[in-house]
Symmetry: C2
Subunit: 269 residues, 2 copies
């Protein structure tokens, strides 16, 4: 049985570097597909064209949000080297380019053996003491994306749900797919963008449109719960960065991301 | 009088989105130009083609390092919107594509007024208590790049220079151009990549080739010294990330970057 994520990010080779995709409404925020979902679809298409197996770094620039529906990913092989392959891609949907991406692929863990880690997994309370996520955002926006995950928020970072924001732009949670699909590299571009904006913790609300999202994929995740921690340190001049870390059940950092987004503005959906 | 940085990153419009550049040997590590210098040249060309004034986020994928010499930057305007312009660029030199980039441009500070900052500038000792940089790396590699900056290292992060690494993958320093040029947005892609690799603090040495470098440009720097702090938290599986923050003389974060690089390998230069 194929998982919903695998079905909804599958691409079909149309030859000449073109791949057909079907953007489903299962990963929406309001009426529009989540940016991380779009980047996951594009990464899948790049992976089909790549001569190297593992995505290492993928950057997406979001041009305008499509509606669910058919899409085509056009992939360009920029360089296919012995160790690394670099690719560009554009996602076309609704008659427009929606997303431009660059990615580099390689083989994780194949090179070098020196390991030095100066960080620890986020200190989340046990799953059973955490707060279940909801698909309804304050303001009446339905988030179908949230239905695809079993998400258990650290209660210290989920106060905004009941109108008591923590005052800190941080959100932490245990995350796994609701249908039991185990995590892998391919889901990480989606997972890093799947929690509500961390600035909700400051009592802000509204859309936080992503301009650019870069995901580093650092290790193949072990099966089980992921721990995700998202924070914004600099909200200024109309923009904010949002950093996410994803740790697996073995306590290994498997992905990290940073996005540049617009500061919250009134809802348009 | 034009500064060396401005001369060495100047581009000439050749029409049809093509810009001529001259890569000088002034920003080398060994025989090859520094990656941040190449990205600064590409950002300049993108800026010429952009309908919006300020670079906000620029990502470069490094394909192979050129030698100093003539180069051409080919810029594609992907989208020119009311608030933001998105561009792609490729740097051609020595008969090959060397760097592919994406960037989004806008107007810093023009949108929104909410400010929330949850971080402080790096706690560097006063300039006069810091250690001057050198253009000679351990191992006999000459870094002409280092001659273009007045760099004063936090002594707690510079022990590796005299064979006493700190054991932490962090490097902090006061930085300004040696010729007195004041900082602006355009120099930040270079500045974030201008200090020695932070993993030298772990006692490692050798090349740390950058695969991908993303720079966020967050505020126009005030005149005076910049404070730069660079660190690596995850060295594993043959790769590392390196994060840099750049703060200006007013204590404002003006730029932040993250790169994915190969773990140190024996020198090839």
């Amino acid at each position: 049985m194929t998982s919903r994520f695998d079905r909804d990010t599958a691409v079909t080779d149309l030859a000449d570097g073109r791949y057909a995709a079907a953007l489903t409404p299962n990963w929406n925020i309001g009426e529009r597909p989540n940016g991380g979902y779009l980047l996951a679809v594009v990464a899948r298409a790049m992976g089909q064209a790549s001569t190297r197996p593992d995505p290492l770094s993928v950057t997406g620039h979001f041009l305008s949000p499509p509606l669910p529906g058919p899409a085509v990913v056009e992939v360009e092989r920029i360089r296919s080297g012995r160790a690394h392959a670099t690719l560009a891609a554009r996602l076309q949907a609704g008659g427009q380019e929606r997303l431009r991406a660059l990615g580099v692929f390689g083989a994780l863990g194949a090179a070098g053996s020196v390991t030095a880690v100066a960080a620890a997994p986020p200190d989340l309370p046990p799953v059973e003491e955490c707060v279940r996520g909801t698909a309804e955002l304050p303001g009446g926006v339905h988030v179908s994306l949230a239905e695809q995950f079993d998400t258990r928020y650290d209660p210290r970072t989920a106060g905004w749900v009941r109108g008591q924001p923590s005052g800190r732009a941080e959100v932490g949670a245990w995350v796994r797919f609701a249908d039991g699909r185990e995590p892998d590299l391919w889901c990480l571009p989606l997972v890093v963008d799947a929690l509500p904006p961390s600035v909700f913790g400051l009592g802000l609300a509204g859309w936080v449109p992503t301009l650019e999202l870069t995901v580093h994929l650092r290790a193949h995740p072990a099966p089980g719960w992921l721990r995700v921690w998202v924070r914004t340190r600099f909200l200024m001049g109309g923009y904010l960065e949002e950093d996410a870390e994803v740790w697996d059940a073995d306590g290994v950092l498997v992905g990290m991301s940073r996005q540049l987004a617009l500061a919250p503005a009134p809802r348009r959906d």
